[in-house]
C-alpha cells in the first residue's frame, strides 16, 4: 500500500509511529553531523577543506530541515522546535555522530563511513511506500554523491600517505568501530518498516552492502579490515546518548534559547 501524503499516513496509527521514528533517525543524523562539520570552519588543513566542510554542513543541515518538515506535516512541531528544543533522550541519531571531531583522520573516517551508510539508507527508502520520503531521497542522493567522492578521496589519501597520516587513520578506525553498529541500523521498528514498504531492505542487508563496498576502500587505502561490526553498548536509535550530545546541544541551541519566539 502506498501513502501519497501525510493525511493518508496519519490514518494508520502504527504506520505513523514507525514512520516518525525513522524520520527522526534521518533528521537527527544529518543535523548532528552537520553541526560537527560546521565546527571545522577555519581549522581544516587547507582552505579547500574549509570550503568543503562548510558546504557539506550546509547540505546536511538542509537535509535535516527537509526531514523535519516531513515530521511537521505528520503532526510534530515546527522544524526549528524539533531541531533546537528536544532533549537528548528524544534524539535518534547514532552516538558515533555526536562525538567530538577529534583529529582530521577521525573526522574524515567517520564522515566517509557515514556517507556510505547514507547512500545505502537512501537506496532503502528510494522506493518507499511513503511517497514524500521517496521523492526527497531521490533528490538528496544526487547531492550526496559529492560528499562520498570527497571523503573517499581523503580516506584513501591518508592511508596511502603512510607515516603519521596512516597511523592516525588506523587509530581513528579503531575508535569508531565499536560505535559503528549503532549507526548502521534502522532502529527498533525495522521489521514493521519493511512490512509496510517504508524501507526496502533491513539492517542485515544494509551492513552486507556497506561491508562489501568499504572493504574495497580499506584495501585501496592499505588498511587492515577490523572484522565484524559489533553491537553498540549505547544505542542512539533508542535514545541512549553520551554527554557529548548534551554539550553539542548546549552549544547549538545557545542563540535559540535566548529567545525561542524570535523571528530570524
Amino acid at each position: 500500500m502506498k501513502f501519497e501524503n501525510a493525511a493518508q499516513a496519519k490514518q494508520n496509527e502504527r504506520v505513523l509511529t514507525i514512520l516518525k521514528d525513522l524520520l527522526f533517525q534521518l533528521a537527527d543524523d544529518e543535523l548532528t553531523l552537520g553541526h560537527r562539520d560546521s565546527e571545522w570552519l577555519g581549522l581544516c588543513p587547507d582552505i579547500e577543506g574549509d570550503v568543503a566542510f562548510s558546504s557539506i554542513a550546509q547540505d546536511e543541515v538542509g537535509h535535516a530541515v527537509f526531514f523535519f518538515d516531513l515530521l511537521h506535516e505528520l503532526g510534530e512541531e515546527d522544524p526549528d522546535s524539533l531541531a533546537f528544543n528536544r532533549s537528548s533522550k528524544a534524539r535518534r541519531n547514532g552516538v558515533l555522530l555526536e562525538r567530538g571531531n577529534g583529529d582530521w583522520a577521525y573526522s574524515v573516517a567517520r564522515h566517509y563511513f557515514y556517507d556510505l551508510f547514507e547512500d545505502l539508507r537512501l537506496q532503502a527508502i528510494a522506493d518507499s511506500s511513503y511517497l514524500p520520503l521517496a521523492h526527497g531521497a531521490a533528490k538528496i542522493r544526487r547531492e550526496e554523491v559529492y560528499h562520498l567522492m570527497h571523503m573517499h578521496l581523503w580516506f584513501t589519501r591518508l592511508g596511502k600517505a603512510g607515516g603519521e597520516a596512516k597511523e592516525r587513520l588506523e587509530k581513528a578506525v579503531q575508535s569508531i568501530w565499536p560505535e559503528l553498529g549503532g549507526l548502521l541500523s534502522f532502529g527498533l521498528h525495522e521489521q514493521e518498516l519493511l512490512k509496510h514498504g517504508i524501507i526496502s531492505f533491513d539492517t542485515h542487508e544494509l551492513r552486507r552492502r556497506w561491508t562489501s563496498r568499504m572493504k574495497a576502500a580499506f584495501s585501496e587505502a592499505g588498511l587492515m579490515w577490523p572484522g565484524e561490526i559489533p553491537e553498540p553498548r549505547m544505542d542512539g536509535r533508542k535514545g541512549e546518548h553520551s554527554e557529548e550530545l548534551d554539550e553539542l546541544l548546549s552549544t547549538m541551541t545557545e542563540v535559540y534559547r535566548m529567545d525561542p519566539a524570535a523571528n530570524w
Binding site: 579547500e48 527537509f66 514524500p132 531521490a138 533528490k139 538528496i140 547531492e143 559529492y146
Partner: protein, 155 residues
Amino acid sequence: MGFVSEERMWDVLQDVKDPEIPTVSVVEMGMVSKVFIRGSTVEVEMMPTFVGCPALDIIREHVSGRLLQEAGVEQVEVRFVFDPPWTSDRISPEGYKKLKEFGIAPPAAEPTALPRCPYCDSGEGMVENLFGPTACRAIYYCKRCHQPFEAMKKV
C-alpha cells in the same frame, strides 16, 4: 484589468534571476515546474536546485514580488516541490549559454567528468575543489588557459 494567462506568467518569470547567478533566470535554470492560474491567484511550483539551498526564501519573494506587479494578479503562492526532482539536465540551452557568459561552466556529463573551461573551451582541467561558493557549484582549474573556473555540479 489585464488578462492573466499562464503563458504571460512564464514570460514574466524570465525577469526573475537566480540570486546567485544574476544573468540566468529561474526559468532558464529549469526551476519552474508548473504555473496554475485560479482567477486572480497565481500558483507557482518550483524545484530547488539543492535541498538545503539558502536562497529559496529570496527566490520565493522575488517570484511573488514580480508576478504581483502584473495587472490582474492579486495573490501569488510559491510552493517548492521534489517530484520530479530538479536535475542539472533541466537547465535550458539558453541557460547554458548565459552560465558560460557569466564565467560558470555548464555541468559535465557525469559527476566524475571534467566540465569544459568556460573561457577557452578546453576539456583539460583538474578538480580544485568539489565544493564551491554555493551548494550547486564546484571549482576547477584549466590547464590550457591557466584559469581557475567554477562549474555547475552535475546532479
